[in-house]
C-alpha cells in the first residue's frame, strides 16, 4: 500500500523503493500519514451526505413508503408513473423551462450590456457594480419577502402605481395567470448582477491590444465589439449559460415566500413541487422519484453541455 505513494522525483532521498515506509531517517517525511489522515474526513462527509443519499433516492423511489420503519412495500416504477401522470409535475417542468428561457433571453443580454458599460472605470462605476451585485448577496427568502410586499395588492408598490391610474390594483401573486410572470421578474432582479460580475471579470482580463489592433485596422466600435470582444468572451458566456441553466433547475427558496408554488401549482418549480408533494407530506418514495428525475435532468444536461459546448476547456 505504502509503496504506491509515488515519490516525488525531485527529492533525492526519497528514491529508494521503501523510503516511505522507513520510520527513521530523513526519508520519513509524513507523506503516508498525510494520506491516511487528511483525505478521509472530506471523502467520508462527501460520501455520507452527498453520494449515498442520491443512491438511496433511487432505492426509495421503488417503494410506497412514509419514511418510518423500513421500506417494505415495493412498487417498482409506479412512483415514476404517478409523477409523470401528475399535471402539476408538467407545469413545474414548464416553469423551469420558462425560467431558463428568461435567464437566457433577458438576464444574460442585460448582464452583458451592463458589463460592457461598467468594465471601464469612471466616476461611480464601482458603486454601480456593487449596487447591481447587491441583490445576489441577499438571501432568496429575504428577496422573496421584499417582493411579496412590492406585489401586495393592498400595500405594495405595484398596487399604488395602479391606483394612481385610478384602476383597481391586481393581486399578481394570487392569480394563476400572473404568478409566474411575477416570479420571473424577481429572478431577473436577483441574478443579473451575478452574471454581470462574471462578464466584468472576463472583460478585465482580456488582451486589450487585440481590440486596439482591430480599431487601428478601421473597425468601428460596434464592429470591434461584435467581431473581437464578444468572441473573446465566448468561454465566459458559455459558463454563464451553464450557471443560469443549472441555477434555474434548482430554484426553490425564492418561490416559497412569494407563492409557495401556487395558486393551483401555477408557479411551482421542480424543487418546490418535490417539497410540496414529497417532503411536507413525507411521501418518501414519491418524493425520491421526483428527486431522481431532477437529478437525471441535471446530470444529462451537465454532461451534454460539457461535451457540446465546453470541449475546448
Amino acid at each position: 500500500m505504502a509503496r504506491r505513494i509515488a515519490n516525488s522525483p525531485a527529492i533525492g532521498v526519497a528514491e529508494t523503493p521503501f523510503s516511505s515506509l522507513a520510520v527513521r531517517g530523513p526519508a520519513w517525511d509524513g507523506r503516508f500519514t498525510v494520506l491516511i489522515l487528511f483525505l478521509p474526513p472530506a471523502l467520508l462527509l462527501f460520501t455520507l451526505f452527498v453520494v449515498l443519499p442520491i443512491g438511496e433516492a433511487a432505492w426509495y423511489s421503488a417503494f410506497n413508503w412514509n419514511g418510518f420503519g423500513r421500506p417494505t412495500n415495493w412498487i417498482g416504477f409506479d412512483n415514476y408513473r404517478f409523477v409523470l401522470e401528475t399535471r402539476a409535475f408538467w407545469l413545474a417542468l414548464r416553469n423551469n423551462g420558462l425560467i431558463i428561457a428568461v435567464s437566457l433571453a433577458v438576464q444574460l443580454p442585460l448582464a452583458l450590456t451592463l458589463a460592457l458599460m461598467l468594465a471601464e472605470r469612471f466616476r461611480g462605476s464601482v458603486a454601480l457594480r456593487m449596487l447591481f451585485f447587491m441583490p445576489y448577496i441577499l438571501a432568496e427568502i429575504a428577496t422573496g419577502l421584499i417582493f411579496s410586499f412590492v406585489y401586495d395588492g393592498d400595500y405594495g408598490l405595484v398596487a399604488s402605481i395602479w391606483r394612481s391610474f385610478g384602476a383597481e390594483p391586481p393581486h399578481l401573486l394570487a392569480s394563476t395567470d400572473t404568478s409566474m410572470l411575477a416570479v420571473l421578474i424577481v429572478i431577473v432582479w436577483k441574478y443579473f448582477g451575478f452574471h454581470m460580475m462574471l462578464f466584468i471579470a472576463a472583460l478585465q482580463s482580456l488582451d486589450k491590444s487585440l481590440i486596439e489592433a482591430a480599431r487601428i485596422d478601421g473597425a468601428t466600435r460596434l464592429q470591434a465589439l461584435r467581431h473581437v470582444v464578444i468572441p473573446l468572451l465566448y468561454p465566459t458566456i458559455r459558463l454563464s449559460v451553464f450557471f443560469a441553466i443549472v441555477g434555474s433547475l434548482q430554484l426553490f427558496d425564492l418561490v416559497m415566500p412569494l407563492t409557495r408554488g401556487g395558486p393551483a401549482d401555477s408557479s411551482n418549480t421542480m424543487v418546490s413541487f418535490l417539497y410540496n408533494n414529497g417532503i411536507s407530506r413525507m411521501r418518501v418514495g414519491y418524493g425520491s422519484a421526483i428527486g431522481v428525475i431532477l437529478f437525471a435532468i441535471c446530470v444529462t444536461f451537465a454532461f451534454t453541455y460539457k461535451r457540446w459546448f465546453m470541449r475546448d476547456e
Binding site: 472530506a42 433516492a57 429575504a142 416559497m256
Partner: protein
C-alpha cells in the same frame, strides 16, 4: 461653473443612452430595497397611502421593538452558530484534502478528485428526502450539526478545487527545501501552506458562510424546533404571524438583511474573488 461648459458641448448620444440605461437599472434595483428600509419606519396606514416616499412620521418603534426582542437575537445567534460550524468544518476538511491532492502523488489520486468534483453537478434538493432520513438515523435531526454537516459536504467540491489550485502554486522549491531541512509534510502544511493561503482560505470561508447564512431548504427539513431556527426560517414564521402588518415585517426584513450587507461590504473582495475564481475553472 462646469454646468455652463456641459451645456455648450453637444451631448454624445451614446453617452446619453448609457446614462439613461444605467439610471433605469439602478432604479429597478434600488426601489424595492429603499421601500423596504423606509417602509419599516412607517405606520401601516401610511404605508398604504405613501408606499414610495419618505415617512411623514418616523416610527422608530417598529425597529426598536425588534431590536430589543429576544427573538431577533436568537435567530441571528442560531444562524451564526450554524454558519460558523459550516465554515470551520469546511476549511479544515477541504484544506487537508486539497493539500493531499496538491502535494502527495498516490495511486487513484485523480480518480478520487473527479469523484469529489461530481459534487458540483447536482443540487442538494435532489437527495433531500434520503438526506433527511440519514440525518434522522444518525440522531442529528433538530441539531445544529444536522444542518451544518450536509452543508459542508455540499460545499466540499468547490472548496477543494479552489484550495488545491492555490496550494499547487506554492513554489515546489519551498517544499523541497523544507523537507531537506527535516520538516515533515504535516508541519509544512501547518506552518507554510496555511499561513501562505490566507487569501484563498478567506475566500472559501466567506462563500461558505454566505451560502450557509442564506440557506433555507436544509434547515427547513432538518429542524423542527423554533428555538433552533436560523433567520430565513424565523422570518418566514414571523411573516406568517403578522401576515399583513407589512410595516413590522419590513422592519424585520431590514434588520435581518443588515448583517448580510455589512458582511458583504467587509468581505466584498473575497466574495467577488471566489465567484470569478470558481467561474474561470469551468
Amino acid at each position: 461653473m462646469s454646468s455652463a461648459k456641459i451645456s455648450r458641448t453637444p451631448v454624445d448620444p451614446a453617452v446619453l443612452f448609457k446614462a439613461v440605461f444605467l439610471a433605469i437599472v439602478a432604479i429597478f434595483v434600488l426601489v424595492p430595497l429603499l421601500a423596504t428600509l423606509l417602509g419599516g419606519f412607517k405606520s401601516l396606514g401610511e404605508l398604504r397611502v405613501n408606499p414610495f416616499g419618505l415617512p411623514r412620521h418616523w416610527e422608530w418603534q417598529n425597529y426598536s421593538d425588534i431590536l430589543f426582542s429576544a427573538r431577533y437575537w436568537q435567530l441571528l445567534r442560531n444562524s451564526l452558530i450554524i454558519s460558523s460550524l459550516a465554515v470551520v468544518l469546511t476549511l479544515i476538511t477541504a484544506s487537508m484534502a486539497a493539500f493531499t491532492f496538491a502535494h502527495v502523488r498516490f495511486y487513484g489520486s485523480s480518480m478520487l478528485l473527479s469523484y469529489l468534483t461530481l459534487g458540483l453537478l447536482f443540487p442538494a434538493a435532489t437527495a433531500v428526502l434520503p438526506l433527511f432520513i440519514k440525518v434522522r438515523d444518525l440522531g442529528l435531526l433538530d441539531t445544529y450539526f444536522g444542518v451544518a454537516l450536509p452543508q459542508v459536504a455540499f460545499s466540499l467540491a468547490m472548496s477543494v478545487l479552489l484550495l488545491r489550485r492555490f496550494f499547487k502554486d506554492i513554489p515546489y522549491e519551498l517544499l523541497e527545501a523544507a523537507l531537506v531541512d527535516g520538516c515533515s509534510y504535516i508541519k509544512f502544511f501547518r506552518y507554510v501552506t496555511l499561513p501562505l493561503s490566507r487569501p484563498i482560505l478567506a475566500t472559501v470561508g466567506t462563500i461558505t458562510f454566505v451560502n450557509s447564512w442564506n440557506a433555507y431548504l436544509l434547515p427547513l427539513v432538518m429542524l423542527n424546533t423554533d428555538a433552533l431556527y436560523p433567520w430565513p426560517l424565523g422570518i418566514m414564521v414571523y411573516q406568517g404571524e403578522y401576515s399583513s402588518e407589512w410595516h413590522l415585517i419590513l422592519a424585520f426584513i431590514t434588520l435581518t438583511i443588515l448583517p448580510t450587507i455589512i458582511l458583504f461590504l467587509l468581505a466584498q473582495k473575497h466574495i467577488v474573488a471566489g465567484l470569478t475564481a470558481g467561474a474561470v475553472k469551468g
